[in-house]
Subunit: 389 residues, 2 copies
C-alpha cells in the first residue's frame, strides 16, 4: 500500500466529485462547452475590481524583493486589516490579532490547529461546506453536525443539544455555502447565550470560528451582523476570494477577538500554526489586499442572477428558498434521492452538486457564478427534468 491509509479513504470519498467533474468534461467535449450548463463550481467568474489591476501594476514596479516577511504577514497589511475590522466589527483590533493566511481555508487550518486536541469536537450546522470534515480531521478534531432551522437558519437549540464535554469549538459560515442563508442577529445572540451557558456548566470555554468569505456578497441591503460584537471568544476567518474575485491567489486572514479568553496565547499559536503549514501568505497578494480594504466586486450582478434563477426555478415548479447572500441556490430535490435527480439534470446538460455532498440530502446546490445567459438558457432544462422526476 503506497499511499497513507487516511489518504486512500479521501480518494474514495472524493471519487464521486471527480466522477462528476469528469462527466462534465465529457459532456462539454460532446456538446461543446457553450451547450453545457455548469453550475457545479463556486468559482467567482466576475473579474476583480479595476483597482486590483492598478494596484498590481504599482506593486510590480515598487517591489524590490519578494523574500520572506515576518511569518504572520507584512506589518502594514496586518495593520490595515485590523483598522478595517475595527470599523466593520465595531471592536478595536490591533495588528497582533491578525494573521494573514492563504485564503479562508488557510485561516481555518490555523484556527483549528491552534486549539484542537485529539478527539475534541467541532460543531457545525448542516448543510455545510464539504471540506469542513477534512479540516477538522487533520487538526485532530471530529466534526459533529447539527440541523439548521427554517430557511437553513442557525438553530442555537440544536447546537446546545449537541454540546458535550469534548466540544472545543463551533464553526459557522454565514452567508452560507451551500445554502446562501445569512444568520440573523437574534440567531447569533442565541448561539452566544448557549456557548456562555456551556462555560457555566462545564467550566470550559467553547470558541466560535466564523468563516465569512461571503460577508460582502449579500443582497437587498442586508447587513451581516458583527460576530465580534456578539461573542468575544471568536476567530473570524475570511478571504478576498469572493469580494475581490481572487480565489486562485489564496489570500485571506484569521483574526482573533482582542477580548477572547487567553488571547495572548492564541495569538502566539496562530503565528506558529501559520508558519508550520504555510510559512507565510503570498507576499505580493498580501500587499495588494492591504491597499484594497473595503473594495468589492459589483454585487448587483450576483443579485440579478439570483433573481433570474430564483424566479425561473419557482416558475418551473421547484421549491427553493430565496437566499440573502453568497452565490448559491439550494433547491429541494423533486426526488428524495438527490443524486438520482442530478442525474436527470445531467441529461439536460445541467451540472449541479447533490446536497448529500454537503450534509444536506434531498437538496442540490446551484452556483450562479456564471453569466446571466447560461442561467436563462438552462431554465427549460430544469423544467423538463422536474417533469421527468
Amino acid at each position: 500500500m503506497p499511499a497513507a491509509e487516511y489518504m486512500r479513504d479521501m480518494v474514495a470519498r472524493s471519487s464521486f466529485i471527480r466522477k462528476m467533474f469528469e462527466e462534465g468534461i465529457k459532456l462539454k467535449a460532446q456538446f461543446g462547452p457553450e451547450n453545457v450548463f455548469d453550475f457545479s463550481l463556486g468559482n467567482p467568474d466576475l473579474p476583480p475590481p479595476p483597482q486590483f489591476k492598478t494596484t498590481l501594476r504599482d506593486l510590480v514596479e515598487e517591489m524590490d524583493g519578494h523574500g520572506y516577511m515576518p511569518n504572520p504577514g507584512w506589518p502594514q497589511v496586518r495593520t490595515a486589516v485590523a483598522e478595517y475590522l475595527t470599523r466593520e466589527q465595531g471592536v478595536e483590533l490591533k495588528m497582533e490579532h491578525v494573521v494573514m493566511t492563504p485564503g479562508a481555508a488557510g485561516g481555518l487550518h490555523v484556527a483549528l490547529k491552534s486549539i484542537f486536541n485529539p478527539g475534541e469536537e467541532l460543531i457545525t450546522p448542516a448543510p455545510y461546506f464539504v471540506e469542513y470534515g477534512t479540516y477538522a480531521q487533520i487538526s485532530g478534531g471530529k466534526l459533529v453536525t447539527v440541523p439548521t432551522g427554517p430557511g437553513f437558519g442557525l438553530d442555537p437549540a440544536a447546537v446546545e443539544a449537541a454540546l458535550t464535554e469534548r466540544t472545543r469549538a463551533v464553526l459557522i459560515n454565514s452567508p452560507n455555502n451551500p445554502t446562501g442563508a445569512v444568520y440573523t442577529q437574534e440567531q447569533l445572540e442565541g448561539l452566544a447565550r448557549v456557548l456562555e451557558g456551556a462555560k457555566s456548566r462545564w467550566n470550559r470555554r467553547i470558541y466560535l470560528i466564523s468563516d465569512e468569505p461571503y460577508r460582502k456578497i449579500v443582497y437587498d441591503g442586508l447587513k451581516v451582523p458583527s460576530i465580534f460584537r456578539v461573542y468575544p471568544h471568536t476567530f473570524l476567518v475570511t478571504s478576498y476570494s469572493k469580494e475581490l474575485s481572487l480565489a486562485g491567489e489564496r489570500i485571506g486572514f484569521v483574526a482573533v477577538h482582542p477580548q477572547a479568553e487567553d488571547v495572548g496565547e492564541l495569538c502566539q499559536v496562530m503565528v506558529i500554526a501559520n508558519r508550520i503549514f504555510y510559512v507565510n501568505a503570498p507576499s505580493m497578494m498580501q500587499l495588494a489586499v492591504g491597499r484594497l480594504q473595503g473594495v468589492c466586486v459589483d454585487v448587483s450582478v450576483y443579485q440579478r442572477r439570483r433573481d433570474i434563477f430564483y424566479e425561473g426555478l419557482i416558475r418551473a415548479g421547484y421549491q427553493v428558498e430565496k437566499p440573502g447572500g453568497a452565490f448559491y441556490l439550494f433547491p429541494k430535490s423533486p426526488l428524495p434521492d438527490d443524486v438520482a435527480f442530478t442525474g436527470l439534470l445531467k441529461e439536460e446538460r445541467i451540472l449541479v452538486v447533490p446536497g448529500s455532498g454537503f450534509g444536506g440530502p434531498g437538496y442540490f446546490r446551484i452556483s450562479y457564478a456564471v453569466p446571466d445567459r447560461t442561467i436563462s438558457a438552462s431554465l427549460e432544462g430544469f423544467r423538463r427534468a422536474l417533469e421527468k422526476a
Copy 2:
C-alpha cells in the same frame, strides 16, 4: 488551556528562536541596523532576475481572472515544469507527475501527507532543516536522524543502520541547509542500494523524498546529480524561492518519478493532499514561474560571498568546510557549547544560529544571503569572539 497541547509544545520549542530574533531587534535598535551583522536568516537578498518583473508586467495585463484553476495547478505550468524536469533529470515526466505547491514546504507536506501512516518513520541525515521534525509530526510520522560523513556528506551506511520495519521514507536535502553540503553521485547510488536492499529484506518499499530548493545555487561548476536517475521511488520537492528569489511568494512543486512504485495512486493522493492543505498554489506566481523555467539569479554573487566569508573565517582561525552549494556556512563552534558561543558572537553584534537548532550541536550556521560589505565588516568581530572563547 486555550491552545492545543501540541501547539503549546511548539511555542516552548520556538521560544529560543524567538528570543534570538527579539535580541536581534533590540541590538539593531540600540546600535543601528547597519552596525548589526545579521547572518541568522535564510532569506535571499538578491532581487529576482529582471525577466521576473517583465513576466509579471505581462501577466498583470493578460490575466482576465484570478479564480481557481484545477487544484494541482495550471495545466500549461505543470507541462512546462514536466518538460524542464525531463531535461534536467534525464527521465521523461508528464504533467500528471507534477503538483504545483506553495513553496517546497508545501511540497514536503504534500509528499509526507500522501504516504505517512501514524507511527511510521522518516529518516533524515543531521544536521537538517529545523522544520523537518514538525513536518513529519503533522503528517503522523516520526523523524529519525542519522549522522552524516566527512564534510557533512551523505552516509548510506548510517541510513542503513537506522532502517526498521516502520521506515516509510528517507528525506534528503542537497545542497543542504544548514551545511551547504552537496551529496555526490556515489553517495546517492549508495543510498539507492540501501533502499533497494530494504525492499528485499522487508518486502516494503521505502520512498525517497529529495528536497532540492538550492539545486541551482552551486559553485565552482559543480553539478547536482539527477536524483530521478538514481532511484525511481522518489518525490522531488523544490521551490523557486532561492533560484528566483521569491521566498515570500510561496511557489514550488512536488514531482513524483513516473516509474515510482504505484505511481498512479501516488499522483491521485498528492492532488488531494494539496487540495486539503492549500486548495492550490498561488495562481499568478504559478503562471510566472511557468514562463521562467531555468532562469536563475546570479549565483556568482553568492559564490563571491562564500569565498570572502570562508577565507576570512579560516584566516581568523575557525574550522569550517568550504561548501559546494546553498548560501550557508556551518563552522565548528570554538566552544563545545554552541549556544554559549553564539552569545559571544552577539557581544560582537553578530547574529548566527546555533547548530543545536539543526540537530548539529557544536557548530553554528551562518547565512550569507547578505551584502558583501556586511560579511567583510563582521570578520574582525568573528576574530575577537574566537579569542574570547
